[in-house]
């Protein structure tokens, strides 16, 4: 085996299976990532609000949740959800994609909640004081004054989370749910080639995340052009 042969194999594989990698695989990978970040953001916002709440039990629950998720491996969480959820909820029986999605969402929610919390807390306390001194209620202060400013801190970090999740979905291939990494395993099974499909997948992951991270950098620059205090 030498480089020339590997090169030839990669080209051959690409020509034969490019649609499996690029279309089927990326469709699952990106849809799973988008789904995860979307619902992760919604649930993450709720956890963030709980964590900043005045009611101690809510704070504790949110803190314990975040710490548990952040303190255990993602692969373990995937196994746990994949095998435990169908037992607890019969509806999820044989719905592998959904189970994996829920696992990813629960994982992402913990990280997103921290992104949102720090984004909100990064807004100068003087903003809250000014709003409250004008007689604005707590919730009005949040929606009118704090959140519009916090979004500037949150959005770029959220996009980075999307990039992370795009890569992390590869873990879901453990359960053959159809993502890019699953395609690698399928092609490997069909051709007895291991190295070459991995190189192709790596290239696709890299190109996609590279483009995404450049877009995030652009977004960040545009937002920073705006205002400070």
């Amino acid at each position: 085996m030498n480089f020339a042969v590997i090169g030839q194999n990669i080209v051959k594989l690409w020509l034969k299976y490019w649609d499996k990698f690029l279309i089927t695989g990326m469709e699952y990978t990106l849809s799973l990532a988008a789904l995860t970040v979307f619902f992760g953001a919604i649930i993450g916002s709720m956890i963030a609000l709980m964590r900043m709440s005045k009611i101690p039990p809510l704070r504790w629950i949110a803190a314990v949740y975040t710490e548990l998720i952040r303190g255990t491996p993602m692969l373990l969480q995937l196994y746990l959800f994949y095998f435990a959820l169908p037992q607890l909820i019969p509806f999820l029986n044989r719905k592998q994609y959904l189970c994996v999605a829920i696992a990813l969402i629960c994982n992402s929610a913990a990280y997103v909640s921290e992104i949102i919390r720090s984004g909100i807390q990064a807004v100068d306390i003087g903003q809250t004081e000014a709003a409250r001194s004008l007689g604005m209620s707590k919730s009005l202060t949040m929606t009118e004054i704090i959140l519009p400013q916090a979004v500037k801190n949150i959005l770029p970090a959220l996009c980075n989370e999307f990039i992370m999740i795009t890569k992390d979905t590869s873990l879901a291939s453990t359960f053959f749910i159809g993502d890019l990494m699953t395609q690698v395993l399928l092609v490997k099974g069909a051709t007895y080639l291991t190295f070459e499909p991995l190189v192709i997948a790596a290239a696709i992951y890299f190109v996609v995340t590279f483009i995404l991270s450049k877009l995030v950098a652009l977004l960040e620059r545009r937002m920073r052009r705006g205002d400070i205090r």
């Binding site: 903003q127 000014a130 709003a131 001194s133 004008l134 007689g135 009118e144 205002d227 400070i228």
Partner: protein, 255 residues
């Protein structure tokens, strides 16, 4: 009612941190009458800002009470036994901060109308008309569409003052309004405050501007270690200081 001219009554308030290890306020009692321009002076750390911020409960006192327009706002319950709505009372107390705290994502006009529209329910057109009048008063009507970042420090503080005035408060609280300004901008802000005092607005001002205290204030309070050490007319405080502490303080800030 015999207390009718007393707008704010501060009764023996205390503010402790770390279970009393730090006493920011250590029993302060003072009345603010309608039309007063009360100037609070003292070293940094003397509790003057804490006292001011207690008046609208941005700092919640550990002990003591604050009666604003006859209502004890430090109590959790109102006269009818319902939960006291502090927002209602804060609408009547304008506040101006050292660092302006304008809302950076809103234009000057929006900065001024957001509270009147969203809190008081005033129609937008009316709120904007009123805001423009106020901006005109401080010579900034042409900046209504600008964002805070496009303004100088002095302009920002003038906007912050009229933003508070847009809620038509009964009293204005100033927390070192000129301390974060470049020296050449201090004058324009003090000017606005002076004119405001001339309209009869009740004002409580924490400041290091002794010239302003002497010229505009009708009462001066000297705070030291969380207590009011001396209180009197500007003439009494500046020309006949009694305590050695005040004499020492004045010798350092007056030239």
């Amino acid at each position: 009612m015999e207390t009718s001219d007393k707008l704010i009554q501060v009764k023996n308030i205390k503010k402790y941190y770390n279970q009393g290890a730090i006493k920011a306020l250590d029993g302060v009692t003072v009345d603010v009458n309608r039309g007063d321009v009360m100037v609070i002076i003292g070293r940094s750390g003397s509790g003057k800002s804490t006292l001011l911020r207690s008046l609208n409960l941005l700092e919640e006192p550990t002990d003591g009470s604050i009666i604003f327009e006859g209502v004890d706002i430090t109590s959790k319950k109102d006269a009818n036994g319902k939960k006291l709505d502090i927002d209602l009372h804060r609408q009547k107390m304008g506040m101006v901060f050292q660092h302006f705290n304008l809302f950076p994502h809103k234009t000057i006009l929006q900065n001024m109308t957001v509270a009147p529209i969203k809190v008081k329910g005033i129609p937008q057109a009316e709120a904007e008309k009123k805001a423009m009048e106020l901006l005109d008063r401080v010579g900034l009507a042409d900046r209504a569409g600008a964002y805070p970042i496009q303004l100088s420090g002095g302009q920002k503080q003038r906007v912050a003052i009229v933003r508070a005035l847009a809620m038509e408060p009964d009293v204005m609280l100033f927390d070192e309004p000129t301390s974060a300004l470049d020296p050449e901008m201090v004058g324009e802000v003090l000017d606005v405050m002076k004119k405001l005092a001339q309209t009869g607005m009740t004002m409580v001002v924490v400041t290091h501007e002794m010239g302003f205290a002497r010229e505009v204030g009708n009462r001066v309070i000297f705070m030291d270690e969380g207590k009011i050490l001396e209180e009197g007319t500007p003439d009494a405080i500046f020309n006949h200081p009694q305590s050695p502490r005040l004499q020492d303080f004045l010798s350092k800030v007056l030239y």
